[in-house]
């Protein structure tokens, strides 16, 4: 049994637009199914606005999903009571993109790390301090630095503090939403190394959300590619990167600038821009930009199907 099992999850936002206040529905997540095994990483990639963050948030019920099922360790959490949810929150934590905004600037790092333990009434004072100091060591902070405030740290250090906070309650699953996107590459690599070390040591599962294809490839076991609220391809990381089946995945991979000036490039240039999620095209959501599109593509919504063993794609022509 998978640690996390998501079935047909939907997250629709209703917004009022214009002076007349016409309502529009944005289907940020539109029928996503996926699973994450214990100790493994599922990478979620896609361009901005495709629904990655909304997916992460609705799995944790930070926003209430519109429809669908999320099972953690076999237990359904959509519709679960607040008390049950509080218990489960210990097991599932989130790390955000912005290490500046996500830490309370008025608290010391010691206080920030202690907060989750206090909320859940974990351990006595001495045990809490021991746990804080041991995790601080893990993320490369000296004991005396625990009494400093977030603004006294660099971006990379702050992101590591964010990770330590997520780990305080010994979770099994961490949803990391663009955890390294705000960081420079040399610092990004420190944080990625830390996340991989911790995973090995604690058998953690990650849902690693990022728009950066090389970072996702580096950390993931499985990868889900999203386009306009839908998963269009999902498979083992090697399959997705070596033998992508969906035309969007192929275009995305070919668009990635490769840091090697002598490599020959075979680029698929997509026409046009991402359609608005408030007004997605009918049929296959990708058909307005797909180089392989035919007439049927505008009519049929392609289901996510198993094309080869454990390799799923949503396209009627592959």
């Amino acid at each position: 049994m998978a640690l996390l099992e998501v079935q047909n999850l939907k997250q629709h936002f209703t917004t009022k637009k214009g002076f007349m206040g016409e309502k529009t529905v944005i289907k940020a997540v539109d029928g996503v199914s996926l699973s994450i095994e214990e100790g493994k990483t599922l990478g979620v990639v896609g361009e901005s606005g495709c629904g990655k963050s909304s997916l992460g948030r609705s799995i944790l019920r930070l926003v209430e999903p519109t429809e669908g099922s999320v099972k953690f360790n076999g237990q359904e959490i959509v519709g679960m009571s607040p008390r049950g949810m509080k218990e489960l929150r210990k097991e599932m934590q989130i790390v955000f993109q912005d290490p500046y905004a996500s830490l309370n600037p008025r608290n010391t790092v010691r206080k920030i790390l202690e907060a989750p333990l206090l909320i859940h009434g974990t351990g006595n004072k001495k045990e809490r301090q021991e746990r804080i100091e041991s995790l601080a060591g893990k993320i490369g902070l000296r004991k005396e630095q625990l009494n400093n405030y977030p603004h006294e740290f660099s971006g990379g250090q702050r992101q590591r503090i964010g990770i330590a906070r997520a780990l305080m309650l010994n979770p099994k699953l961490i949803i990391a939403d663009e955890p390294v996107s705000a960081l420079d590459v040399s610092v990004q690599s420190q944080v990625l190394n830390l996340m991989l070390d911790l995973q090995q040591e604690r058998n953690l599962s990650y849902m690693f959300i990022s728009h950066d294809l090389s970072v996702v490839q580096h950390v993931s076991d499985k990868v889900a590619v999203m386009y306009l609220g839908k998963v269009v391809e999902i498979a083992d990381v090697k399959k997705v990167y070596k033998d992508p089946l969906h035309p969007y995945t192929r275009a995305l991979l070919s668009a990635l600038p490769i840091p090697d000036p002598v490599r020959v490039r075979n680029r698929i240039i997509l026409q046009g821009d991402l359609p608005s999620p408030a007004n997605p095209p009918p049929g296959c959501p990708f058909h307005t930009r797909c180089p392989m599109a035919t007439k049927e593509c505008a009519e049929i919504v392609p289901p996510l199907e198993e094309k080869t063993t454990d390799h799923f794609a949503a396209c009627i022509h592959t």
Binding site: E47, S48, S154, G156, D184, V185, S186, V187, Q188, S189, Q190, L192, N193, L196, H211, L213, S214, V215, Q217, H218, V219, V237, Y241, A251, L252, S254, A255, L256, P257, I258, P259, D260, P261, V262, R263, R265, R267, I269, L270, G272, D273, L274
Partner: protein
Amino acid sequence: MLLEVNDLSLSLKRAGKYSKILDGISFQVAQGETLGIVGESGCGKSMTALSLMQLLPDKARLGGKVDLQGEQITSFSKRKLEKIRGNQMSMIFQDPLTSLNPLHTVGTQVEESLILHTKKSKQERRDRVLHLLRAVGLPRAEELIDEYPHQLSGGMRQRVMIAIAMACEPQLLICDEPTTALDVTVQAQILELMNDIKRQTKMGIIMITHDMGVVAEVCDRVIVMYAGKIVEEAPVIELFQNPKHPYTQGLLDSIPKLGERKKKLGSIPGTVPTPGNMPAGCRFADRCIHAMDICRSTLPPMINIQENHQTACWLYDEKEAKNDGSARSTELETALHN
């Protein structure tokens, strides 16, 4: 030489006192050449670009010499500068939304520099604007000319910015992270457009980016900046295959590469020193695994590795290399073979 920058320095006032943001920046750009400027955030890439354009904050102190086509533009009056900005040299900024005027139509904004710098008639200008919009790959130019920036997507806005910058066929185009705010498939479209422009014109381009992938795609030659100084300069293939400065090496080792999974990435410990707190010697010394005594006391000079390839690092100074003991020379060996 199209552009010659000599010993450029810049001090800005922060918290009541001046601190040096750029120091001893020298480089050249030839006609038809694309020079990349890379480095991590805060190293001074944008400030270098703005110094060339002389679009600096109040009370900025600019030193050194900038020659554009043999004319020393650092001694130009405001009026003379306005004549060359948008005409001989123009710039594309990172964020196309904030650099376009929300109150003016696309057409008006592209036309602006044509009014300023040419004697074209109204009809001629309209034709030129339409031509430019089509040239940068924008669809339905006739309608677009009367639309406002907020009606366009991020990629389209960046195309409009490129059209504005290209309006007077400048000799030098400075691009500050032109694709950083864009999605990867849109970035690919813009990079393709930049490469087309490169092929079709003899323009010199300065491409500022923190993305080594973008550098590899579009640049001919690269300078690497660290804490307000140039630490390495080389042709693009040489830089990727034979990086010499420990900072350049660290930067390249930190990038996750396709095909290598869950391998430990290289990283650079510590953080960049802030302006006003620069160490006396090499600015990278605090983070450098090869640092020697001399690094902490004396600024390393630019040392020639081979033709067109230079780096500011004591490891490549012959006298220093000879002077140091056996322990250090093994360190040097590893560094040289990295």
